[in-house]
């Protein structure tokens, strides 16, 4: 057997850099709703980031914001936010952004 494949992983098991490679799927394209943050209500508690399944909430210093390239639109952040600072808005309302 002639192997033409160039290894993706340096390790035997599938270890990767969680800051980059873990976010490797185009999960943003799955989204039908996106989280919109009311910064006035947000007190930077970080629960949204803890609960986010693809772990795509970016720490902006005094609030968190979903990385829309990976946000699947599941709405868990909006459900978990104790201050109701996140609202899920249908993607259709952002249609002009493509």
């Amino acid at each position: 057997m002639v192997i033409k494949h160039k290894n993706i992983f340096k390790t035997e098991s599938a270890w990767s850099n969680a800051d980059e490679k873990l976010l490797c799927l185009d999960t943003g394209s799955w989204r039908t709703e996106r989280p919109v943050l009311d910064k006035e209500k947000c007190n930077y508690c970080g629960l949204c980031a803890l609960y986010c399944p693809p772990q795509c909430m970016k720490d902006m210093g005094d609030y968190f914001e979903a990385d829309l390239a990976f946000c699947k639109g599941c709405g868990i952040c909006a459900t978990e936010c104790p201050r109701k600072a996140i609202t899920m808005v249908p993607e259709g309302e952002f249609a002009d952004e493509g």
Partner: protein, 398 residues
């Protein structure tokens, strides 16, 4: 080198499993009690309470958690141990696959017992057989001493940098779990020295606090293919490694078991009985009797079940005239027993000889001397060209 001597104690197979783990100094242990393995979970807990075992003992609410705990501890770099049986093994089915997929060198002993469907609190290899496609290394042992020795060897195998795979050491529940035999327990310092070569190897990747790395994800398309390819190649490497470690163990402790398979009186033998587990002990004595009667019979004991020791089996069985395979489990969807079914895939290499499948010893029924005599007589007749029955459920014909 003079073989290292230990302390001889008369203890049960389960106690041996616990001592086997203890002398390897696991750092994290999580096990949930289940018949016939419970004594291991209890004893390890006792060792910890007595201060003999310096490990984190995590009490879990079930076997699925037990496997997930040791998996997580293992990828964080700890040496880990767990033990289970039957329903417990089934209950950790997803976690078994996570563990091997993460290439975590977990060592587990499994006291073989029948599986769910018909509630049989009794011996049988069905649990081990049902877990054969989980990517684990699976080894079957014959007696109490071998449980201990193989558990030590399992660490040397699992944690080897070229292997990095979880290893399951299987022994017959009830038969061995509650059987007390004289067992030589090596000094813990000698075990340290036997396992020391692992320290000379490169360090495997581990979780590190503050470093954002992850394992097991990023597996779409070629990431998946590559990880699975590496896993399968590592399983192939296990075969020779098992032989090497068995030899090294023999040199150091004075006991060895043949590695992937044990060949007993196969030289000059025309027919072979292939067996595994505690039944191999009975087969050995019947082979001796039959040899005295002039029957040219030998035994091959299957020790390594996953990966399947194809090359060693071909070498041992090529040129023989007929083979009888005793399975203590079933292969649903095939009429042969599972080990027989797998052996049959090697028929093209072994030669077109009769391979007779025997199902025996299910649900605590004994694979006894008359049964094995019958197997040898029938295989011998088949070798001489007489007609034979392909599959025999021995207890159903009694």
């Amino acid at each position: 080198m003079k073989a290292k001597k230990g302390q001889v104690r008369v203890i049960t197979g389960n106690a041996v499993g616990a001592y086997g783990a203890m002398v390897c100094r696991p750092e994290v242990v999580a096990a949930y009690p289940i018949t016939p393995q419970s004594e291991i979970a209890e004893l390890l807990s006792q060792f910890k309470a007595d201060g003999v075992l310096d490990a984190e003992y995590v009490e879990v609410e079930g076997e699925n958690s037990a496997m997930n705990v040791v998996l997580a501890a293992s990828i964080a770099g700890a040496r880990v141990f767990t033990a289970t049986s039957s329903y417990g093994l089934v209950f950790m089915y997803d976690a078994l696959q996570e563990t091997s997929g993460f290439r975590a060198p977990v060592v587990m002993v499994n006291a073989n017992r029948e599986t769910p469907g018909i509630h049989a609190v009794s011996s049988g290899q069905q649990d081990m057989i049902s877990a054969r496609d989980t990517g684990w290394v699976q080894i079957v042992v014959e007696n109490d001493q071998e449980i201990l020795d193989q558990t030590i060897m399992a660490y040397r195998l699992a944690e080897d940098y070229d292997i990095q795979l979880p290893v399951m050491v299987n022994y017959d529940g009830f038969y061995l779990s509650y059987l007390a035999e004289a067992v030589e327990i090596p000094n813990i310092e000698d075990v340290d020295e036997f396992l020391a070569p692992l320290k000379q190897q490169p360090e495997r990747q581990k979780l590190v606090p503050g470093v954002s790395i992850g394992c097991g994800t990023h597996g779409m398309e070629m990431g998946y293919v590559e990880a699975r390819y590496k896993h399968c190649m590592a399983l192939e490497r296990v075969k020779n490694k098992v032989d090497e470690i068995d030899k090294a163990f023999g040199d150091y402790f004075g006991r060895s078991y043949g590695g992937q398979i044990e060949e007993y009186r196969t030289e000059g033998a025309e027919i072979i009985v292939l067996a595994s587990g505690s039944a191999a002990g009975t087969v050995r004595t019947v082979v001796d009797t039959k040899r005295e009667e002039g029957v040219k019979v030998g035994m091959v004991k299957l020790r390594l079940f996953r990966p399947f020791p194809a090359e060693r089996l071909i070498k041992a069985l090529k040129g023989k005239k007929a083979i009888g395979v005793i399975d203590r489990s079933l292969c649903f969807g095939w009429k042969y027993g599972p080990i027989c079914m797998e052996l049959k895939t090697l028929a093209v290499n072994i030669g077109a000889i009769p391979i007779l499948s025997y199902i025996d010893g299910l649900a605590n029924l004994d694979i006894n001397v008359p049964h094995i005599e019958r197997v040898i007589d029938e295989v011998n007749a088949a070798a001489q060209g007489k007609p034979y029955q392909e599959v025999t459920w021995i207890p159903m014909e009694e």
